[in-house]
Symmetry: D2
Subunit: 372 residues, 4 copies
């Protein structure tokens, strides 16, 4: 496959991110098809047309269903609100398209499972979910170190994912705070990322005990009234991995000062490593070797010897940005589409993440440990 | 009271620490009695006599009971193995002595309660437990900021306490790894410190769900055999505070790379603060004020405007050390003894900490949330 | 101008970087012309053709002079070895093309001045030099803070630029280590970046006293012999700015552990700020305001409120990468070309940087302070 | 020698610091004489008497000359204003006393040389200067690593020493800002520390080019007038070491945000190390060994395996404070007095530091490189 035609649904933060990734991936990686940006789709015609022109799409539309029958399109990116993911993704798969859908998969586990079923029934199309942080070369280097036994047997995982986009209690109420239209809160927005990293490094989570809370229970709505916040601000859990290892996960969308506060620690019998997404080009590694007087955490700056870093930059320590992780994500999806070895997070694997956040909710409601 | 006579039981790490604190506290604080170092007590006569000479004690003994009737002694420091705390502390209190006992209080909650009862029945003597990290000026500044509302209503606490003194699985078995002789493991050694900080800043913990594990289940013993490790390597919990706030606590004595890894974060409605004991002279504060473009965590170096720092050093940023926290601890105890306002952690308050670690154990065994 | 045709000379590190920037700039910024990647030029035909295909260039050539008369080209990027910059840039300008040339300008000050003269004589074409670090939103925020007086009158500048690409004394000799073919060493590769930042924030340097050394004087060459290193490993200087302020600059290409170690500090009468390129998304700001007990350096993560950050990412703290600075650099050049307000570093301003590094060399040779 | 009688002149910051060191050194080190705190001397009788009582001195006086003939005194600490050092130190040495004098030695190089001459002519007494930062175990570990070749041949030194105690331009004028009464400014207060570290690690400085400035030229004096500041706010230099290595030193007493900002970097052919006194329990080490993908700066926390740390604390990472460096300093002096191997900085070595700061002044005045 030399070329691939893509359509993109959505022109928001993630929409632009996918567009930039499609524009860059061939130049960066080389060994992928040329990406033809065919159609951009969103609800406001004029804005969509302007974005299409700027982002290099051949045309624009407000009718996402028109993409399904368009033979110039082989791959559809879905960056619409989460409540639309199921309908769009299932339709796209049934129409024979490859699908790249942003996370979380859907508002309910039933919807997510319907998506996974559609993927399982598809005729060989690839699916991918937007877990870009997994593509961070520093994270992949952590995974490699663990796989090679550099820190021994891993037995404890500590992770947190915190942002402050809802931290101000005076921020207004919106539909994003309802269960019906937006589903879960922090769990769907943030916790899923943490789980994706935890399972990447430690294997599957098998059981957990969680605490899920709305802290700022009401927010100002139209007309000077206060309206109920329905979805979670905070979600913490103790977890047990299938391997027998254990861990602690915490997450909050109301954590003042955290902008991309995704941090993990992996404890092993021979060492430890940790990573903080706010300094995403650094991996910190401690190995219990050599004279004790010389031991310490090593701050390793990402470089061309780490995963895909070298495709983007030959100079170590110069640093990748958030958007560039999406370029790597696009490459992995194109590898999957073209039948190559791929690290892409498909819908089947995505279900494994969705099940965990829904287990959080169940555990918190029942005040008990639950199996995932 | 112009002078006070003290005896010290124990010549190990904590024993020397108490000795140094007694030697310094009058010079540092001025407004406390002169401390007469009367008797040093430990089991090996020659070593104890040598330490007494070096540490400025007038004499030494191997008979701790002889201290009880010695009229030159008003205060006894107990830094012996934890299994001896109850007997010594109760006897000292019954003999009319003030008591400064290292943490944890005892091997069992029953023993700790017996100590608290002895303190309650005492004729006005003061008791103190060795929670020195509470005396860190940076921590006390955090407490002040919270009390003043600088970060608004506090609703989330994250804390961990990790060291690596047992991290190497090849470290030999010893009596310290038995329940009978040493009681709890990480919970008694480390977790108690974390709880002391959590309760200092957030109020009491009311319920929790915990996970307590022995990870390295056997260690090499004499004769080339492996022996069972009975007490906990790792202790994690979700906690609920009486205030309604929540939190996550994690702790490990097998965390490679952590040497004094006691870290806390307090999340509030207007800001956040965090502290890491490995950089104990720094408090990090984020306040959601001013233009967003200028917001960030402020690294505040301890200085003479923070709690007792100025007694030890008039120059900001020059830094206190671990031992100096013990000097402040000694001063607070002397304030309690002389009837002044004191922050000393007495046995009654200590019981509040012991109950929490025993609730960890119960929760882990029953796999349920438990009330403290 | 709706569209602009570009040619790119060079397929190395900087060549790919320019190509990625051309591919992204319209999508990222919107308010610039569409960039038509017309011709890619380098010396090896097959490799150049492959790169052209991957990077989205319509065709490729090995004859850079053919670009001069190509009417589809309005802008030429020059990323060839420094010794070729003069000839190519002057020819391009004489042919009526806009020019984006990598730094340093040339091997000698005479060559750089010839380039500046060609730019001055051009018929309105824009020129730009590859000082991408100036485009870092954190750096531009520093500049804005200084301009607004946030840290008062600035009087002291500390800067260093260190990498370790030549740190191993056993690295082989090459033509890059000769004066004839490569010109200056660290001064041309690294120090120019530091000077660009210093002059951006403090105004022009007027005099200096420098120390410029070859430390690893010989390196292994072909045939098992050692060959002389002719250009500088290390270049340090005391500087005086035209404003009367002062500063210290240090630079090294043999600084083990530094991968992109460009650090600056600006001291003012009301505060201080500092920045480290290895953590390029952070600006550290101290303002002497508020109660002393609450003062500290604020770690401000870059966000959409900082310069061009928001064009690339709406979410604060998610972080830009090195390559994205080049996208901003491209936008600024396109602004200059289209007659808009631009921050682009043109050849005239570039000469101001070249003069400083040549003053380093003169001062070091004469062992005296020199005027720039 | 089992016991030694000491007198202490001065009750300020350094006076209390010496008193605490004398009170602790026997307990901490054991292998030194018992210190009898005989006499405390300062100008205000009541305050001195109060301090003597608190600090454990047997008596107090306001007549420093009375110490000279007191047979109970073998060692005199001089922490009086710098202008008094010469007279007191020379008299003490002539009276046969050992002397511990705070830095800098004196207001002029002539005075410092007179002190060194008195030391040279003494009958075996020891002298010591208050360069406590040299006693930091992290710094001594750096020295050990360098001596063992861990970072290869060292060729570049970067250092800065910055505080902000005079940073506010509105701080009032005082005698401390005059040459006559206070001598040099930043050079005497701060730069001497940096030089002490530079020479400890790199050997002697042989020549330098300096820039020494008063930035805030006038400060508010009594009566609403402005008065001239005579001594230096800022002192920067390029230096050449006798070994052929080079370096850059910067220093400022008007550096907002720096509280104890003494930082050094040592660059070697096989690695690099750096240290920041605001985090004095950490040494950062990079060694160019092992696979490049695993290289990074190691943050090594001080522990009992580093120099004298273990005398103060057996637990790594628990951290020493500023005051404890003075305890180690006292021990080294007592080792010198008792004829043991000692790292104490005596007057002869102190002259080597004084010569450098005076060379700074000469270079800045003449605008030339000068030999030290």
């Amino acid at each position: 496959m030399d070329r691939i035609g893509v359509a993109l649904i959505g022109t928001g933060f993630m929409g632009k991110c996918h567009a930039m990734a499609y524009g860059a991936v061939k130049a960066v990686f080389g060994d992928v098809p040329v990406v033809d940006r065919a159609v951009l789709c969103d609800v406001v015609a004029a804005h969509t047309a302007k974005c299409a022109a700027d982002w290099g799409f051949a045309k624009s539309t407000t009718d996402w269903r028109s993409l399904l029958s368009d033979p110039s399109i082989q791959l559809i990116s879905i960056t619409s609100p989460n409540g639309l993911h199921r309908e769009m993704a299932v339709a796209a798969l049934e129409a024979g398209k490859h699908v790249w859908c942003e996370k979380p998969m859907a508002l309910t586990i039933a919807d997510a499972e319907a998506m996974a079923a559609a993927a399982a029934n598809a005729k060989g199309q690839a699916t991918a979910l937007g877990y870009g942080y997994l593509r961070n070369p520093a994270l992949q280097f952590a995974r490699k170190l663990i796989a090679e036994g550099a820190i021994g047997e891993v037995f404890d995982f500590r992770g947190s994912v915190d942002e402050d986009y809802m931290a101000d209690p005076a921020l207004p109420w919106s539909w994003r705070l309802t269960r019906k239209d937006a589903g879960l809160g922090t769990l769907g927005d943030l916790t899923v990322h943490l789980i994706s990293l935890a399972q990447e490094l430690m294997g599957n989570i098998s059981s957990l005990s969680a605490m899920v809370d709305v802290v700022h229970k009401q927010r100002p709505a139209a007309g000077g009234k206060m309206a109920e916040v329905e979805n979670d601000d905070i979600a913490h859990a103790l977890v047990r991995f299938a391997s027998g290892a254990r861990g602690v996960l915490s997450s909050s969308r109301i954590a003042h000062g955290r902008k991309n506060g995704l941090k993990i620690e992996v404890h092993g019998s021979k060492g430890m490593l940790w990573l903080d997404n706010e300094r995403m080009n650094e991996l910190n590694l401690y190995v219990a070797e050599g004279p004790p007087e010389q031991r310490g955490f090593r701050r390793i700056l990402s470089g061309p010897y780490h995963a895909a870093y070298g495709k983007l930059c030959p100079a170590p320590g110069h640093g990748l940005g958030f958007n560039e992780l999406k370029v790597i994500e696009a490459a992995e999806l194109l590898y999957a589409i073209t039948g190559r070895k791929s690290e892409s997070v498909n819908f089947e694997r995505g279900i494994g993440i969705e099940k965990v956040i829904h287990a959080f909710a169940t555990s918190a409601e029942t005040h008990r440990w639950v199996e995932v």
